[in-house]
Symmetry: C4
Subunit: 264 residues, 4 copies
């Protein structure tokens, strides 16, 4: 089986863009795409299903019925063009270094699918770990594109909070967010860009604030009208509790460093 | 080779149902299916053999002859229809997370075989860990079906002790019992249901009591006439020894908590 | 590439038998086959080479030239029939449980090759761990055959020291020695037998005594004329040093058990 | 995808030689080949790109653009013949013993490519760990060739500092440097030689001195005119800092062995 993408009902798409957000650091990409899928009007509909034998060997049960673990591709019909949102609970396991080929295969299958659907641009969303600095600033969105032309085109749009930081040294971007853009460009000449919201990797239950920055950038870029109230509220909550926890951790660490009054 | 299913002698089957019980939590599925295969009259016969290079790289020796490790498919010819029982000592190794594809492939091969034999329904048996609660109650059988229609059809049969608990939140069911139902439905539109007997996962040598509940449900569902005496006796024995052991463990733990009268 | 068997120069073989001894417990199979290859007259010649991408990713260097890691198949032309000896330094890694399919593939390739060469019988040699009992007795050779007919045929030959112990319960035999006999019979109806010399698995540098028993059985079975002097000398040496070591270990353990005269 | 080698613009090559240096012990091979690629005049140009799903599931980002992790093949047009340099940051992961086949596949793909391009000789560069002895002598280059003819031909060229040490016992050479020479000769009859610069495996940031010896041997062999000043300076620096560190380690170890004056 490997990775299989099944279209519910094939449609002729209008100059489609693909937007991808799967689980990763701070769940930034997943939260951003899920928010877009739930908030955009008219409602995005399930267009295709992704199943893969690289997903866990288990099924998802709910209300006494079960289904294969899968990601979904939603179709959002915009005014001037169509959008395919790739969303879901799973990407190949990054902790398993022995299965490098699973990641390449998964990315290639999505890229092939995009090609077939007429997609000419792919945007992926992810988190970028900047550690504790995350809490002292509004998360920025760093962009890394498939090629210089795409970079220049995006830069010229002067999107607020979208940063191309060419001064950064060589880095590696792990996982599907980077690999899909790389594979789609190398194998199919589909250009793209990876948008990374700054986050703290300790936010394992999700960084809504960082995802909010990504949603903001995307909405500006594609002129989506998205109500930001809900995600703003969630982001505020998360940031408050995280700051509290950090405060407590620091107090505990301070105590540890105090001189001890007994002999051990 | 991967997974290969060899039919001894192809027969035209009469509206066949597939019933599957392989080793898993509490060995519930395996014990249930083995009991049915040994007790049903007329005797079920070996219909096909399953070998797979995902099974351990070893052979099974007995009485100075050896054979490949294999599962078996038994044919039981009922009055109105035929039954294929999938039984045996092995399913792909669940502790090996790096071989997710082995589980999908194994399930898909069985589903393909079922399709080819004309099977329209697949029922799998497994254990569901509920911990220590297991010993305070007669194990129930929880059902999770491939689709809503199958769920309604089964619910309407009002089988005693068979529970569809729609209030349960999202869960994951690991292993072939869930995956086979999922794959058969997704790839081949064969509907099915996974029957899970409540058990305590500490019962690693097998929970005959839970298996007995599953056998009961199956016998009601398909109007099998199965003598329950043997499995009832086994179940009683297992439960008594387990209760004894639990008792001892609790006493030991109590002792540990008592104040110690010496300085260490 | 997977596993590839390359024949140097294809010949028409006369009712060939395949004999296989690769590294395993006590190196029994490897030592036995190597001894036969070196001692039989007329000299056995390299007939084919086995390379495999399941072998270690390394090359073997000697005298400033290198070659791929490989096993060899030697052809020994007997008076009435031909013999193919499968010998060499490597079989797929048994400690790597995640690569079950490598073992099946390796065995299947050898079985296919045997089939193509007209082989109708395969005999494999291995060690059988019996622990410390090994040193108190002349190692016996236990046989487990592919089928009952082969068992009866071999039993009727009344080979000295060759034991068919039908009273043993169910056991698993790991590795190519068992798997090859199983796969060859299941997939190609080539019958065979696995001969296991009793050994102590602590003899990691090789148990010449156990191998000697296997060579004895094989020589009787095929009426090979093999000078046993060298292997007898080696076996004696190994057994003496092992007995010495065991003696020392026991003395050390005894000391440990003596009461200690100080408080800790 | 597995391993894919894409030629930018196919050219008819003039009796081409392939030279390969990928990361390994002391980075010797990689440093040597990178130095040749950067110093040879006329400049070597990128001729082909190697991508592989055995490489890490990540992309390489720089100046806000990303690309797949890849090795490169550079074409250097010499006076009488052409040279293909295989260079880059990655070879299949040697710490992952469960993926032996990745190494064989990677080597075979390069060998196939070489064959197609008309290559008749392959030279690979690597480091050979000789431990602390490394610092007391100018690193020699040990050669292990694919066959005796190649060995004799190379020996007869009497290249300074190139050693064929036939007295060494059997050894294993791990990784692509050995495997590529082995596979190319076994599968395609392309002869070759592995040149190993003596190094200390503790030099994990690279042993320029050892690489310098390799570059020297190669330059003599192919009459390359390479300015050695830069690599000589780097080598000196590395050796000085390493000697310093070693000195400090020894002092620390000496201290540890001194009697302690307090009771713990």
């Amino acid at each position: 089986m490997v990775t299989k993408i099944d279209v519910n009902k094939q449609q002729k798409l209008k100059n489609p863009v693909m937007l991808v957000g799967l689980p990763g650091i701070g769940l930034v990409g997943k939260i951003a795409i899920d928010y877009l899928v739930s908030e955009l009007k008219p409602k995005a509909n399930t267009y295709a299903t992704i199943v893969s034998d690289t997903f866990p060997p288990a099924v998802h049960a709910k209300a006494s019925t079960l289904e294969l673990i899968s990601d979904n591709i939603y179709l959002y019909k915009g005014k001037t063009r169509d959008y395919l949102f790739v969303a879901g609970p799973v990407q190949p396991n990054l902790t398993n270094i022995s299965n490098s080929q699973e990641h390449y295969e998964f990315s290639e299958k999505i890229a092939e699918f995009a090609k077939k659907q007429g997609v000419k641009e792919i945007y992926t969303f992810a988190g970028l770990n900047i550690g504790e600095k995350r809490l002292n600033q509004k998360p920025r969105v760093l962009a890394v594109s498939s090629d210089k032309d795409t970079k220049e085109k995006l830069k010229n749009k002067k999107i607020d909070n979208l940063i191309f930081d060419d001064t950064q040294g060589d880095t590696l971007i792990s996982g599907v967010a980077g690999l899909l853009v790389g594979v789609a460009y190398y194998n199919h000449k589909i250009s793209g860009c990876c948008f990374m919201g700054e986050t703290d990797q300790k936010l394992i239950f999700g960084d809504q604030g960082s995802a909010r920055s990504v949603v903001g950038v995307i909405s500006d870029l594609f002129e989506f009208k998205v109500d930001m109230k809900k995600i703003d509220t969630q982001a505020k909550k998360i940031e408050e509790s995280f700051q509290e926890i950090q405060q407590k951790i620091k107090e505990l660490e301070k105590k540890k460093e105090e001189p001890v009054s007994y002999i051990r």
